[in-house]
């Protein structure tokens, strides 16, 4: 009979959750106090910014801006993860491929993101393809490096197990390799999401005519601090929601077998 695993603890202890909320309230309180003390139009209070978020959602372009930015980030992220994971596995498994292409990866990691974006815009024009390609080119080398490291750390004991029990390549990948890669994939996804977000916004400032980054650049031209902070808060809220509603629960579920995650 199939029973659920006994100890997948999907929720965090109450104290930890409470500490998280207290931390957020402390931050908002400090901000409010500082804004009241400075009394400057360059630092609006959190309440003013909250009102601005509501106004921008109703009257402005906040929702469509974040929708297009999210779409670009999601596309760049997914493509970079897929390409980087495949390439990382190849580099980790093939010495020849590793020798041939590792330097490419190192170069890719060290090229300034902004330079790649400018080149993509010059070569492909100021369009979404260029923006997403720039994100992919910036993110993929990091994915390759992490996944390659994951493959290199595969435990030979499990390889022997797979060979002894004559698991097919597909079975070995699903049962032996993927679980060993999972922590690396999760770390790469977590760091990747934050990086991709930031890149998309910067590249939108640089050469897009829509999206959150583009809108922030318009606010900047008018020194509209309320608008800039409103978009920043929404940006942070989305990132936090992704972390706490998607990545963390996924991590707890996938790594439930580890004593340190139970």
């Amino acid at each position: 009979m199939t029973r659920p695993p006994p100890d997948i603890s999907a929720s965090r202890p109450g104290g930890e959750v409470m500490a998280g909320w207290v931390s957020v309230l402390l931050l908002l309180g400090s901000w409010q106090a500082l804004a009241l003390w400075l009394n400057s139009r360059f630092l609006p209070t959190p309440l003013t910014v909250a009102e601005q978020i509501v106004w921008l959602t109703r009257e402005g372009h906040l929702l469509p801006d974040f929708a297009i930015t999210l779409l670009r980030a999601a596309l760049g992220f997914v493509i970079a993860m897929l390409l980087g994971t495949a390439a990382g596995i190849v580099l980790g498994q093939s010495r020849l491929a590793d020798r041939l292409f590792l330097n490419w990866v190192v170069v890719g990691m060290n090229l300034p993101a902004i330079v790649i974006a400018i080149l993509c815009y010059i070569w492909l024009g100021l369009n979404d393809t260029a923006l997403i390609l720039a994100v992919v080119l910036n993110k993929t080398p990091i994915v390759i490096t992490n996944i390659r490291q994951g493959v290199l750390s595969f435990d030979p004991a499990y390889e022997e197990f797979a060979k002894s029990y004559r698991l097919s390549r597909k079975q070995a990948f699903r049962l032996i390799h993927l679980p060993q890669l999972t922590p690396y994939l999760l770390t790469t996804a977590r760091t990747g999401l934050s990086l991709v977000w930031k890149m998309v916004l910067v590249f939108e400032v640089l050469g897009a005519d829509s999206g959150a980054g583009f809108r922030v650049s318009l606010f900047f031209q008018f020194f509209d601090l309320k608008g800039i902070l409103a978009y920043t808060i929404v940006f942070v809220a989305i990132v936090m929601a992704l972390e706490h509603l998607a990545i963390s629960p996924l991590e707890r579920r996938l790594l439930a077998w580890r004593a340190d995650r139970a």
Partner: protein, 241 residues
């Protein structure tokens, strides 16, 4: 239930890292025989097991399981020195990993056979060392109850746990009439389970003692075991220059 397969090893030559390990090595194992391969560390006992499992094929000669080349014969039930469980799968998942089509009832029966009834949903880390070995044994039996290859399955365990496991293995082998090959460096292990003990030494490897232990392993008394242990230890001493 039919007896386990007969095994036939004829290694003409096997080298490893430029060193000659085996040359003209011959070994026959009768159907249903429980053979212990003993010898010093690093002599090549595990290599022989890998050859019989069809994993090691880089040698000249042949390894036959019931007349079939080992690599093409049914996968044997292999028990490793460590439990070699997949920690990211539950106990049930570990059984299904090697036997995907198995029914829920068969999973429970396999667990019950090794005293782990009801522990299907547990993670391997929640089991004691002895229980992990039992699960490894259940997995091996599930894959092939007729041919068990046991590579030092009792190392790094408390004596009481070892005795429990040995009793369990003896009972399971007696029930399935399996052919079993046990690799060990410990005369005590070799005196309890097998009905034949082979001592191998040297480079290239040669058989220096081939002992038959008459009494049935599952019914072996303490005095039988002590006698066999003495015989094995004597053979080991004689083989040591």
């Amino acid at each position: 239930m039919a007896r386990g397969p007969g095994l036939s090893l004829a290694i003409d030559r096997l080298t490893f890292g430029g060193r000659l390990l085996f040359e003209d090595f011959r070994l026959e194992v009768a159907p249903g025989e429980i053979l212990a391969l003993i010898g010093p560390s690093g002599v090549g006992k595990s290599t022989l097991l890998r050859i019989l499992a069809g994993v090691e094929t880089n040698f000249t000669g042949q390894a036959l399981v019931d007349g079939w080349p080992a690599a093409k014969a049914p996968v044997p039930g292999l028990v490793f020195q460590d439990a070699r469980l997949l920690p990211w799968l539950t106990c049930e998942g570990n059984l299904r990993a090697v036997c995907p089509q198995i029914s829920d009832e068969a999973v429970e029966l396999a667990l019950e056979a090794v005293g782990l009834s009801g522990l299907g949903p547990a993670w391997p880390r929640q089991l004691s060392g002895g229980m992990q070995r039992r699960l490894g044994l259940a997995r091996a039996l599930l894959v092939n109850p007729q041919l068990l290859l046991l590579d030092e399955p009792f190392v790094s365990l408390d004596l009481a746990v070892v005795r429990d496991l040995q009793t369990l293995v003896a009972g399971l082998i007696a029930r399935s009439q399996a052919t079993a090959v046990l690799v060990s460096h410990d005369p005590q292990d070799a005196a309890r389970l097998p009905n034949r003990v082979i001592l191998i030494v040297g480079r290239p490897v040669r058989i220096v003692a081939d002992l038959t232990l008459d009494s049935a392993p599952a019914q072996r008394t303490r005095s039988d075991i002590a006698t066999y242990e003495d015989r094995i230890e004597t053979a080991m001493l004689e083989a040591t220059p």
